[in-house]
Symmetry: C2
Subunit: 113 residues, 2 copies
């Protein structure tokens, strides 16, 4: 895969994860969803910070703190600090949602929003 | 800016750089070009590795080693190791080219292509 939109799966029973870059303390992944959500119970509680950009489609993230819902459309990006408990509660069922996620395990950051 | 395509400049005399994230050894930038190229003389010789993705538009990067030319269209991504001398020799003059660049100063990496 050299194009981020290539090799979209024909049949997508589960979300598809592809690692695009790995270095010390850094990972870039492409995630492809189509109507998928996080498991119904529990939260993601990540050791790493995550910077995420929706390249195509749309998805909604729910945060445990304050029940905050964030819906990301094409081009929207968001920063999820480590241990901010969250889950994906909706992704577009009609088309592929392509997420670019950059995970990094660095404590101090400054994120534009 | 919360959408990567927002605030595109009306008038673009120079390439526009916006920092979206900064952490230790990591930076994410949006770069907007429209017909811009690197200065005619000299090469970029970066201390950091760069992972770059074209979100819109197109651009051509020339590498000093072997005179390799890489044209990136929408969705194409590429890894530029630190000190790989390069320059941008063409960007689409008709529309904005929006680059997402992630710079990181880590020596060991594994990049998918």
């Amino acid at each position: 895969m050299k194009n981020i939109f290539s090799d979209l799966p024909l049949d997508l029973k589960n979300e598809q994860f592809a690692e695009l870059l790995r270095a010390k303390n850094i990972r870039i992944e492409r995630i492809v969803s189509k109507g998928h959500t996080s498991p119904k119970t529990g939260w993601y509680d990540q050791e790493e910070n995550e910077w995420v950009l929706v390249l195509q489609g749309a998805g909604t993230i729910l945060f445990a703190e304050n029940n905050q819902r964030v819906t990301l459309q094409q081009g929207d990006f968001f920063h999820i600090p480590a241990h901010a408990k969250h889950k994906v509660v909706w992704t577009d069922p009609e088309e592929f949602t392509v997420w670019l996620a950059m995970y990094y395990s660095v404590e101090d950051f400054s994120a534009s929003e």
